[in-house]
């Protein structure tokens, strides 16, 4: 994508659609925690709750792009904190593989971010969501023919 398109993406009031796959035990709880401060954050992320980040297989991510997402967030527990012990580790492995797949399809790596948000990290959740929204605004809408 050229710099020009990127700039356009930001200027024409483009509001990205981002799907966030959040694990039930850490990241979803972290998102709930973020609300306690009642400070608004960008409304662009649509959360889909899964029991464990280890459930997020590439198909779910690809489906999100196919159905209109411009970006995907996968949020997991920190290493060692996974409710299911190692699901988050599997998730990182799959994410690495997924990035290669996305590259082949011409989807920018930055459109699929993996991060760790614990149940206590409300601020981190807000930070990740804000950064991701900025990133996708910069990248502009996903050209659907990629998918």
């Amino acid at each position: 994508m050229t710099q020009q398109v990127k700039e356009t993406g930001r200027e024409n009031g483009f509001e990205p659609k981002i799907v966030g796959f959040l694990c039930n035990w850490c990241s979803y709880a972290g998102a709930d925690k973020a609300s306690l401060a009642q400070t608004p954050y960008p409304p662009n992320v649509r959360v889909v709750r899964v029991m464990c980040s280890g459930r997020v297989d590439p198909q779910l991510v690809l489906q999100a792009y196919k159905k209109g997402a411009d970006g995907v967030l996968i949020l997991a527990c920190h290493f060692g904190d996974c409710h299911y012990k190692e699901g988050n580790f599997r998730a990182t492995q799959r994410h690495r593989m997924l990035l290669k797949l996305l590259k082949q399809q011409g989807i920018d790596e930055e459109r699929c971010r993996f991060d760790y948000v614990s149940a206590g990290e409300g601020e981190k959740f807000v930070q990740v969501v804000t950064e991701m929204t900025d990133t996708i605004k910069r990248l502009g809408p996903l050209r659907r023919k990629c998918v």
Binding site: D32, P40, R55, L60, K85
Partner: protein, 650 residues
């Protein structure tokens, strides 16, 4: 399909940002949504009563509740829905409070986001299938493996709650390690006495079946219903008849190395594991006794004053027990010191492990509690080497936690027994956590005969032995070189998994951590549960710890059994589990390799994987891993998640 949407206003918490009227119009246009009702506080008693009543009147096929976080209220509303006669899994919550209203500034955006979420939920819930919590009968009896502090405490606690316990111990006596220590840190209490009250109760407790010289041979089944085979080696002495007088021992003509004293002295072929060891009955070591070499020696039996106490034709027994839960409390071992050739263990007669030294200190030990070298002389100087294998990335990458404390204890006991003896502590780090431990540290460091030398790496210590004496050459952490002469060197090896842990782990299909300890369900929140339902962990088999922590974990494990497997109640099986579409399964077993709970079995005949719903925790890792799409997760199926994704993005 009739979907009912209930919009909780949460007072003004939600409506302040999200206008239900804006959402209503959109929602009623969604496929299947038949009605949209607002409730002031749906979680209040009135709110729940309204919901139940209204569901009974409306009879929707599916329910969407837009309110707060499902983490807080999903269970509550599932119950409401179930009370109204609708399958509880036909309900989907939308988190409008925490994840929309409280965090979105623009009401237009908030309404749009809310609408997206409701569309996702409605699409998802329309694909929900009815799920049922299954119930199974539970056997209330419990198997406890290991009769050390952790196992004893657990067995006793459960027996007091009227549970029948099979207590399996591989050695001939109960008590584990502490009964072999003369004194315990941090307060130098008598080891055997500390455990005496627990042991006395265990021996008298009718609910506890004590099986010494026994080990687990086979395990089948699962949480609530294990079938365990226990192999009991013959003792050749009938415990119920033996009066523990020891008359049988002296006449025995055979002497053999006494493993209970780490081979530091000899015992007879018929012997007590330890004086005062319980149960108070000797055993015959068939590998040493003449009878097992074909001779008809009867000297022990002849000396025994009780008819039928010595039983030469005792045989190995395989006992079968049905139990609902298993507590593993098999303890730990010590790191092999011969892995450090420079420390001369096994080569120099003056180098001992801490366990050997404990036996030298013990009144029941080879020297009757006198600190004597192998030459029979009391040492004038002793060197204690801490961290032998611990805190070492090439050996054991953890702190064993107890070694500093017992080294300080040695320091104090040496001070009392041999006031003139010098003590050199070679340590890498020193730890004294806990409210009582620092006092012992202070006493040890305050000992005027003691010198503390900090080394940087165990490689910087070299021990050479000559004439029952050792020379310890060292380079301290600051790089300064030196040497001391020690009549006795005591090595403090890392605490490692007990011998046979691997075998037991295989039998029970219970995962071990990277060090070989039994792996806990969760390091902080659930250290007394293994990753396999119905198998619990207590004591040092889960990781290095002291006696207090072991006993506490024993109680914790007992608590888990009593609360998770209550007598008379049936065990509920959570319906959110994985399941295999057998027609699509290629039998590649990838699912088995990623399952952290060993919940997936393999049917070799059909060539397909099968999920044991009882063991499955429903994480979905296997679902994501299955290359054939044959594995699915109830309530989180691909179809349901796809529908939700599509809904929230529209």
């Amino acid at each position: 399909m009739k979907i009912g949407v209930y919009f909780c206003q949460c007072g003004t918490n939600i409506t302040e940002k999200i206008d239900p009227e804006k959402v209503r119009e959109e929602a009623l246009g969604m496929p299947g949504v038949a009605y949209f009702k607002t409730v002031e506080y749906i979680c209040s008693e009135e709110g729940k009563a309204f919901l139940e009543r209204d569901l009974k009147e409306e009879r929707p096929d599916r329910v969407v509740i837009t309110a707060c976080s499902p983490r807080d209220y999903e269970k509550t509303f599932r119950e409401c829905v179930a009370k109204a006669g609708i399958n509880p899994y036909f309900m989907q919550m939308v988190n409008l409070r925490e994840q929309v209203a409280w965090v979105t500034s623009d009401p237009e955006e908030a309404a749009r986001k809310a609408t997206n979420y409701i569309r996702g939920a409605a699409a998802r819930v329309s694909r929900h299938v009815p799920l049922e919590e299954k119930e199974i009968e539970v056997c209330p009896d419990v198997l406890v493996v290991g009769a050390g502090p952790a196992g004893l405490k657990a067995a006793l606690a459960m027996a007091k709650a009227d549970r029948k316990i099979a207590l399996v111990e591989k050695s001939p006596m109960l008590g584990g390690m502490p009964v072999r220590y003369e004194e315990l840190f941090p307060n130098l209490e008598c080891g055997p006495c500390t455990l005496e009250p627990v042991l006395a109760e265990v021996l008298q407790e009718k609910q506890i079946e004590i099986l010494t010289l026994s080990e687990v041979a086979e395990v089948a089944g699962y949480c609530g219903n294990f079938l365990v085979k226990i192999r009991q080696s013959p003792r050749y002495v009938e415990i119920t008849k033996c009066i523990g007088c020891g008359e049988c021992i002296n006449p025995c003509p055979i002497s053999t190395a006494n493993q209970f004293n780490c081979g530091l002295n000899e015992r007879k072929a018929i012997a007590f594991a330890q004086t005062g060891g319980l149960p108070n009955a000797p055993f015959i070591d068939s590998s040493a006794c003449r009878r097992f070499e074909g001779e008809d020696c009867q000297l022990c039996k002849a000396a025994c004053p009780v008819e039928g106490a010595v039983v030469f034709d005792d045989r190995e027994k395989i006992l079968e027990r049905n139990v609902g839960a298993v507590i593993l409390a098999v303890g730990s071992g010590l790191y092999d010191c011969t892995r450090f050739p420079a420390l001369a263990y096994g080569k120099s007669s003056s180098v001992y492990t801490s366990m050997e030294f404990e036996r030298l200190l013990a009144a029941t030990g080879p020297t009757g509690g006198k600190v004597l070298g192998r030459d029979g002389k009391p040492p004038e100087s002793l060197a204690i080497v801490h961290c032998v294998g611990s805190l070492d990335s090439r050996h054991r990458r953890y702190c064993s936690g107890v070694c500093c404390q017992y080294a300080f204890k040695f320091n104090q006991i040496i001070k009392h027994k041999l006031p003139q003896a010098k003590v050199f502590h070679f340590h890498r780090e020193l730890v004294a956590p806990g409210k009582e431990e620092f006092a012992l540290f202070e006493r040890a460091t305050g000992n005027s005969q003691a010198t503390f030398i900090r080394y940087g790496n165990l490689k910087d210590i070299e021990i050479t032995g000559q004439d029952g004496q050792s020379e310890v050459r060292y380079q301290d952490a600051s790089g300064k070189k030196g040497k001391v002469v020690a009549d006795m060197v005591i090595l403090c090896p890392a605490v490692v998994p007990a011998e046979g842990s691997q075998h037991l782990a295989n039998l029970l299909e219970t995962p071990q951590d990277k060090f070989g300890f039994f792996e806990e369900l969760h390091g902080r929140a659930d250290a007394a549960q293994s990753k396999i339902k119905g198998i619990f962990l207590a004591g040092t088999c889960q990781g290095p710890k002291d006696i207090q922590a072991s006993m506490n974990q024993g109680m914790a494990a007992a608590g888990h059994v009593l609360s998770q497997l209550p007598e008379g109640k049936k065990l509920k099986i959570e319906p959110i589990t994985a399941f295999v579409n057998e027609e699509a399964c290629s039998g590649c077993k990838v699912c088995r390799s990623v399952c952290p709970y060993k919940a997936i079995g393999f049917d070799a005949e059909q060539g397909v994987s099968r999920v044991n719903a009882l063991l499955c925790h429903g994480c979905g890792t296997c679902v994501a891993a299955c290359p054939s799409g044959a594995m699915e997760g109830y309530h989180f199926t691909r179809d349901q998640i796809f529908a939700e994704i599509e809904g929230v993005l529209q």
